[in-house]
Structure formats: C-alpha cells, structure tokens
C-alpha cells in the first residue's frame, strides 16, 4: 500500500557502513548473550562463566558477520524492506553456517550444534532488523514535520509576498529578469514540496541554494553579500534534502535583513577525508534575535541528520567575534 507509506520514512535497511549501527549491533548481540547466559544459569557466577564461554564462540562470528555486511552494504542498500530482510537473514545464517563448519574443523573442544547456531543467528538477525526499523520509525515524525516546517517557513508570508512584490516590480523594467525570478521561485517551491525522505546529491542542494540566493539578492540588492567557498565541495556527496537551505535563509533573515548596512554571509562546504563539513556564517546582530525560530529549524535538522546518519553526523552553533555560525558535519557518502 504505497499511498499510505508516503509520509513515513521509507522502509530501508540500516546502513551497515555506519559506525553507530555497528556499535548498536555489538551492544545488542552481547546484551542478548548475557541475558541468555544468565537466564539459563542457576546463579550469577555460573551465568557469567557461561557468557564468557559463549563469547569465545560468539565474538569472532559477530565480527565476521559485521565485516560481511559492511562489504555487502552497497548491494543491500538497493533492496526494499521485505526482500532486504530476507536477504539479511539468509546472509546471516549462511555466514553462521560457514563459520560453524570452520570452527568444527579446527576446534579441539566440543562445539555447539549447527542447528542451534543457525536458529540463534536467524532470530538475532530478525530481532536486530526489527529494532532498527523501530528506531527509524521513532525518528520519522521529524521528516513529516520537516516538510511541514519547511513549507510553512518558505510560505512564510514575509518571504513569499516580498518575493512576489519584487518580481512585480521587475515585470516592466526587466521582463527577462522577472521571468528568471519566477522560474527560481517555482524551482524552490517544487523542491520544498518534494519528498523529503530520500537523499539528494550535494550539487542539487547547492543549486537550490543559488536559486534561493538569487531571489533574496533581488530583494536586498547590495545589502546581501554571499561568499561561496565551494571549491572543495564534493558534488556527489549525499545528504538529506533541505538541510542547508533553511540555514541560509536563517542567516539572511536574522543576520542581514535587520541591518541597515550590508551584511556578509559565508557558505563553505568542503570534504575532509571521509567527512563533509558545511559552515554557514552570518553577522550576529543584537536586534536580530536569532533564537526561537532558529532553534526550531536547528532541532529539526539535527533530528533528520540523526535519522539519516545516526551518531555519525553533528551540528553545532557558536557566536564569536560578532559572527553567528552553524557547523554541520556528515559522513561522506557517494551516490
């Protein structure tokens, strides 16, 4: 029933390249093992002893599984949820079976039965998949909210009507420029109304930023100066949509519009190793109270970054030397 799922986060498998996902898997499996050992043992000491014995068998298997999933992650990322689940469980069981064969061949001590190992592997895989799905669902309201907020923010009457008014003023003087401005506005709104559930390429997001900047430039003229430092920006990097545009809009709204003189906004995006850093900076004005509305936008972006990148993304703000600055860091993922 695709129509019902439209507003929810797409049912995707977890990103097995993500360190936070791996950490969650390690913790969860070991937690299960401790639980199982304690449950089956008559007292605490014996339970812990059983866990240690089981760990000798379990931990290598766990690392092999994680490694395998890491290697297959690109292929797995293309699958939708139910085929994905089937493949993941099958893969987990297959690796456990191979591992079991190897251990039996080289072990000098008794090895647990193969059937037990395979059933446990399958159950654990399913448990983890269910956990990750719930984890994702818990965050997914942020997405629906993001769309709504973005729409509300952009259909923020202040922006919409002032932009339309600016276009009206151009129609007689500079019809060509007016046409371009309306095209920019359409593109902007089309993106805002699009699905926020999928990654976009950085170059698409940058194009959106430029369209938006053009419209603002039209209204504010020389008061708005944007310096773009994008030479080291990886255009193929993937990121959630509408992460940068709201930040640029905040920078203009709070850092440039309330000032009588010109204000400079800095947009810098660069790749450093396997990380992508984005910085948006604007003058910090006493009058431009950059708090309430801004914090809502930041909270939402933070939630969405967590949803897409788990603990591997960060967002931080600081005010120093009369400048307000937002820094975002995400892992570098290619399309």
């Amino acid at each position: 029933m695709p129509s019902i799922r439209q507003s929810a986060y797409p049912d995707l498998l977890p990103d097995f390249r993500n360190l936070a996902v791996m950490a969650r898997v390690l913790l969860a499996v070991n937690g299960l093992a401790v639980f199982g050992a304690l449950f089956a043992a008559p007292n605490l000491a014996q339970g812990l002893e059983r866990f240690v014995q089981a760990a000798a068998f379990l931990e290598p298997l766990l690392f092999v599984e994680l490694l395998a999933f890491f290697l297959f992650s690109r292929l797995l990322a293309r699958l939708t949820i139910w085929p994905g689940w089937t493949v993941v469980v099958a893969l987990a069981v297959a690796i456990a079976w191979l591992y079991q064969r190897v251990v039996v061949a080289i072990a000098t001590v008794p090895v647990p039965s193969a059937a037990r190992t395979l059933v446990l592997a399958a159950l654990t895989a399913m448990f983890l998949l269910a956990y990750f799905r719930l984890h994702t669902k818990a965050f997914s309201p942020a997405l629906a909210e993001a769309r709504l907020q973005a729409l509300q923010a952009r259909i923020r009457p202040h922006f919409l009507f002032n932009s339309l008014n600016a276009v009206l003023s151009l129609i007689r003087r500079d019809p060509k420029r007016a046409e371009r401005a309306l095209e920019d506005l359409s593109d902007l709104f089309r993106t805002l109304m699009a699905d926020a559930r999928h990654f976009v390429r950085l170059e698409e997001e940058l194009e959106l930023l430029e369209r938006y900047a053009d419209i603002e430039q039209l209204r504010l003229g020389e008061r708005l100066r944007i310096s773009w430092e994008l030479d080291a920006a990886p255009s193929d990097a993937l990121l959630p949509p509408m992460v940068l545009q709201p930040l640029l809009e905040n920078a203009v709204y709070h850092g440039v519009e309330p000032a009588t003189g010109p204000g400079e906004v800095l947009v810098r995006i660069e790749r450093r190793g396997e990380r992508v850093h984005a910085t948006i900076e604007n003058p910090h004005l006493e009058a431009g109270n950059q708090r309430a509305g801004n914090r809502m936008a930041l909270d939402n972006i933070r939630e969405r970054l967590a949803l897409f990148f788990d603990a591997e993304a960060s967002i931080a703000t600081q005010t120093a030397n009369g400048r307000y600055r937002v820094d975002i860091e995400i892992p570098y993922r290619r399309s």
């Binding site: 202040h158 919409l160 002032n162 339309l164 008014n165 600016a166 151009l170 209204r219 309330p258 009588t260």
Partner: protein, 256 residues
C-alpha cells in the same frame, strides 16, 4: 496634488510603489515627495519634503515603521500614514484595533488609490493610536524641532524627570525636553523585560537601571536621613522617595 513619501528598505518595493503611483495619477493626482530606505533616513528627509502621505513599510532595519510613525507624530504638520506590509499578523491586528490604515504587499493600484484619497483628508495618526499599536517600547525618544526631529537613543538616557509641563531627558552630554507624560513613559520603559529598563525612584523621576552606580545617605543627624542615587558620570544626586526606597533597593540588589 498629493505629495507622497515612500519608506521601504527594499529597492524593488519602492520601485513598485512608484510605478503604481504613476498608474493612478489620472485618478488621484500625486507626486513622489521623497523616499527613504530605513526609519532613520526617513526621519531626516521627511520633515523637509512637505509630504502629505507617508507609505511606510513596517519591517525595516534600524527602526521599524511603527516607531517611526510615533516620532513623526510630534511634527506640527505630520503626514498621514499608510502602513504597507507583506504580512505581519500582530501588527495587522493592532492596526485594525486602532483604526490605522494599511495596505498589503503586493499592493493593488485600486487599493492604493483608495488609501491615498482617504489618507489625504485624514491627517497624521494620533500618538495614542500608534502607542497602542506598537509591539514594545521605543528605541528612541524624539524631540520635534521646527523642521527636524532629534532622536535620543533610549540606551543613552540616564534619567527622566518630570518638571511641570515637560519631562527632562538627561543623557551624559545634555538635556532635552519632551512633551510626554511620565506615567506613560513609566508604563513603556519600566517593564522588567525591556532592553534598557528604568525604575521609578521618586514621584517625578525614572532612572535607567544600568546608570545607577550606588546610593548615598544625605541629611543632617537630627532630621531623618534620605537616600540618593549616584548616577554614572553625573555630579548630580537624585533623591529616592521614602515610598520608593524598598522597591529600588530590592530591584538594584538583584541586578547581575
């Protein structure tokens, strides 16, 4: 011929209004008497422009439109004011309540014509109307002279003291006289959430909290002692009335 002054921080918005004014010229004869891109600039240029109607954007840097209109209310021949805004829910509600005219951006020629006709006969809005429509305290107090308006930033004011018909506004450098009531000023500037809050120390005196350096006792031994406020960079001491003393001491004690 209606003389119209345009104040808006966005150049395209000013251009648009000029186009519309020229479109309706046959129906409502008008001419552009001047324009400004923020509140301060408007205050400098407007008095000499002899404008009859001011088309005034609400959200402008430096000083917003409502505060600008409040300062203009001190002019003898102040212009009628038509506010122009893209959308400002709170301001619009306040305008409705206080019978102030406004236009929504983008503005239609017919609406503009109607607003001009109405405004030309109306005269400047009254100070009280504007004060009630304002969202918060002013950033400046203003003294209207013959052809110009002198602004005194509220953050520079040390104290306000009522003397008969006027209120003395004291800054580090000099004194100004304004025709406002101390009661209204107290209501506007003594709120604790104000950016530069004042405190009443006497029936006739409000002091900027940030300007208070300390207190001195005065009076001879036989009569009851009085407290006086010591003000930053002023030799003059301001007496605290016995009635206000507990409140003053408490407020100043909690200052960070």
């Amino acid at each position: 011929m209606i003389r119209v002054f345009i104040a808006d921080d966005e150049e395209p918005a000013r251009e648009r209004l000029k186009e519309l004014l020229s479109d309706i010229r046959a129906e409502v004869p008008n001419e552009v008497a001047g324009e400004a891109k923020n509140g301060i600039e408007a205050l400098e240029r407007l008095p000499a422009s002899a404008a009859q109607v001011l088309l005034l954007d609400i959200r402008m840097p430096g000083m917003d439109g409502i505060e600008l209109a409040r300062h203009l209310a001190g002019l003898e021949q102040g212009p009628a004011v038509v506010f122009v805004t893209a959308h400002d829910k709170h301001a619009l509600e306040a305008f409705e309540l206080n019978a102030l005219d406004y236009l929504l951006k983008p503005v239609r020629a017919t609406r503009l014509a109607a607003a001009l006709k109405k405004a030309a006969g109306a005269g400047a809005p009254r100070r009280e109307q504007l004060a009630r429509a304002a969202g918060g305290p002013r950033e400046y107090l203003s003294v209207a002279e013959r052809h110009r308006i002198v602004l005194v930033p509220v953050r520079d004011i040390l104290f306000l003291r009522a003397e008969q018909k006027y209120v003395t506004v004291r800054t580090k450098e000099r004194e100004h006289l304004i025709e406002e009531s101390l009661v209204a000023l107290e209501k506007e500037f003594c709120a604790p959430e104000a950016t530069h809050p004042f405190i009443r120390i006497h029936r006739n005196c409000l002091v900027a909290r940030a300007a208070i350096r300390g207190f001195e006792r005065s009076g001879t031994a036989d009569e009851e002692a009085h407290w006086q406020v010591v003000i930053d960079s002023l030799a003059e001491r301001l007496p605290v009335s016995r009635r206000q003393w507990p409140a003053v001491r408490e407020l100043v004690a909690e200052r960070p």
